[in-house]
């Protein structure tokens, strides 16, 4: 099995995630962009876990990836909770309209 395909896919996913973070204006889409980025890293880990020895899969990255998915779930949950609070205060999900903070 060729690992390169998966690594290239992961790098492309990472690029898509960064594009999503830079170009989208909706708060929920920003969170989806973060999820895409996280999936790129997770895919990379799983792909690399197969190359340590032929016919053997290293279990540690799998454990790591499961924990990482859970942790990102927590972060996205907090992010969505913040989005709800922002919507209650501003009545919009457009990130360009949240400009009360000075830069």
């Amino acid at each position: 099995m060729d690992v390169n395909i998966y690594v290239i896919a992961a790098i492309m996913l990472y690029g898509i995630g960064i594009y999503c973070l830079l170009s989208k204006r909706n708060l929920i889409r920003l969170l989806i962009g973060l999820e895409i980025l996280a999936n790129a890293a997770n895919l990379n880990f799983i792909a690399f876990s197969t190359i340590k020895a032929s016919g053997l899969i290293d279990p540690l990255p799998h454990v790591f990836v499961i924990i990482a998915i859970v942790l990102h779930g927590c972060i996205i949950a907090i992010g969505l909770a913040l989005v709800i609070m922002i919507y209650r205060i501003y009545h919009t999900l457009d990130v360009k309209k949240l400009k009360k903070l000075r830069w």
Binding site: G17, L37, N44, F48, L71, C74, I75, I86, K100, L101
Partner: protein, 503 residues
């Protein structure tokens, strides 16, 4: 008994165990009408964690390091904690400031809802930070990193009915999660290169290979990833929003210690895991100088005092990064000591100012308005004790001799001059920056202390004792390190040696 227990219970586990019980204490508080019970419990948890840290310190000073892994999962397959002097030094700062901030919060947040959750998050944040500095593999580092980050997002948004808090927390969440995902991405490549997540094994394997473009790219990714949390300049824009938006004790924690974990991780990876340091020192030094300039110049026009203190944190991260980039024993000693000193003095500044706006907010009606310096001119005459501790903190941040900030800044500048080459220029620019910072600190002090008190501030009273005690403790430490720095410098030197010796 204590020593046996300390073998199984690291201070971060102690804090996690306490934090699990905290909601029940909060339940008890609501049932029994004993006000402030949860806060006292959280304060006790930090007191209880410190003897565990002390017994670890004794063990580390005997053997040089302590390794800890879960019963049957032997590293490198399992995960591992490795505690050396550098970890001990930083965890001392974390627990000290955690204790001060918790004691200060008891009265500060007494009118908020969800107090028990506040203390749970505060305990978990400190536990996460201690876990980050104890970790010896990427698994532990990442898990405790996220524990710390998730708690700090929630704490920034703790007063969730305020627009500033939720907006700043969302910005912080997006930027910091981007950083931690980038860290995960870089980790996956390092895992692919070495086949291991353990720092020791990774260092061993990487040492035998030469520096390639992929390695340089990975170093760049790692500096970006941890640089966001450390607020190094191109990635600092979340800090001046998030730190003022949090409740003041949390601002003290975030500015004092949470941003230092980013610096810690950069140090640990650059000095221990990645064996090449060619060309990075000048690059890091230039970034450090840029960080100082941005922090200091942006702090100059601020009217909002908490925002000013947040920008001054960015400047101080610049001083610390300069010490790290010098990479000699003296430079690292200065940087390590400045981590501790900045934790103490910036913690003291935020806590004191928190007390000021808490007391002034009662009279003016909103703590937001009390944050603007024009509204609290001359308040120092009304609350002399708090104004005194605030003055000590500001003078220490300024770098006045006989206070602690001077000692470590002096060591860093001298180390930079000794290193020679372009670092002499960096040292000169650092001195220029300290000069700039004196301007806004003195203006701030002049406005708060020397202007005549306005009429509406006549009613302001001195804060309750439980808010003042942590301020007094931290002020005494400021003076202690400033006047008799020798034991602290030796402690920092041991910490720096632990970092340099293992590479």
């Amino acid at each position: 008994m204590m020593e046996n227990l300390a073998k199984f219970l690291l201070p971060n586990f102690v804090l996690i165990i306490f934090s699990v019980i905290t909601p029940f204490v909060g339940f008890l508080e609501r049932k029994s009408k004993l006000k402030g019970l949860t806060g006292v419990w959280a304060t006790i948890s930090f007191l209880m964690a410190s003897p565990f840290l002390y017994s670890l310190y004794q063990e580390v000073s005997k053997n040089g390091e302590v390794r800890f892994h879960y019963a049957t999962f032997i590293p490198p397959i399992g995960v591992e904690f490795r505690i050396d002097m550098f970890s001990i030094f930083l965890s001392t700062a974390f627990i000290l400031l955690g204790f001060a901030a918790t004691l200060n919060s008891i009265r500060y947040i007494e009118h908020e809802t969800g107090q028990d959750m506040y203390y749970v998050l505060l305990q978990l944040m400190v536990a996460g930070m201690i876990g980050v500095v104890f970790a010896n593999d990427f698994f532990n580092l990442f898990v405790f990193w996220e524990v710390m980050c998730i708690s700090s997002y929630s704490l920034v948004a703790f007063r969730k009915y305020r627009w500033e808090a939720v907006e700043a927390a969302f910005k912080y969440l997006v930027m910091s999660t981007f950083a931690s995902v980038t860290m995960l991405f870089a980790m996956s490549f390092l895992y692919g290169l070495t086949g291991s997540l353990n720092f020791d094994q990774m260092a061993q394997i990487l040492r035998s290979s030469s520096l390639t473009t992929l390695h340089q790219l990975l170093i760049g990714l790692i500096i970006v990833a941890f640089g966001v949390q450390a607020a190094i300049v191109p990635f600092h824009s979340w800090l001046p929003d998030a730190h003022p938006a949090a409740p003041s004790p949390i601002s003290a924690m975030l500015s004092g210690v949470v941003i230092k974990t980013g610096v810690y991780a950069i140090c640990r990876l650059l000095f221990v895991v990645l064996p090449w340091r060619v060309g990075i020192d000048v690059f890091l030094g230039a970034i450090a100088v840029l960080t100082m300039f941005v922090g200091n110049l942006m702090a100059l026009p601020q009217r909002d005092v908490k925002r000013l203190l947040a920008f001054s944190s960015i400047a101080h991260i610049g001083y610390i990064m300069l010490g790290v980039s010098i990479a000699t024993l003296n430079g690292l000693t200065g940087a390590t000591l400045h981590v501790m000193n900045h934790a103490i003095m910036k913690g003291l500044a935020f806590l004191s100012f928190g007390v000021i706006i808490h007391q002034a907010g009662k009279v003016i009606g909103s703590t937001d308005e009390a944050r603007i310096v024009d509204n609290i001119m001359g308040i120092g005459r009304k609350i002399p004790l708090t104004a005194l501790t605030f003055t000590i903190a500001i003078l220490a941040l300024m770098g006045i001799p006989s206070l602690n900030g001077f000692v470590s800044e002096f060591i860093i500048v001298v180390a930079a001059v000794k290193k020679g080459g372009i670092f002499i220029l960096f040292a000169a620019l650092t001195l220029l920056n300290i000069g700039i910072s004196v301007v806004y600190y003195l203006l701030l002090l002049q406005r708060i202390l020397l202007r005549p008190t306005s009429k509406k501030l006549e009613e302001v009273r001195e804060a309750p004792l439980s808010m003042i005690i942590p301020l007094v403790i931290l002020s005494i430490l400021c003076f202690a390190i400033g006047i008799y720095p020798r034991p602290f410098i030796q402690f920092a030197q041991k910490a720096a040696l632990a970092l340099l010796g293992s590479s």
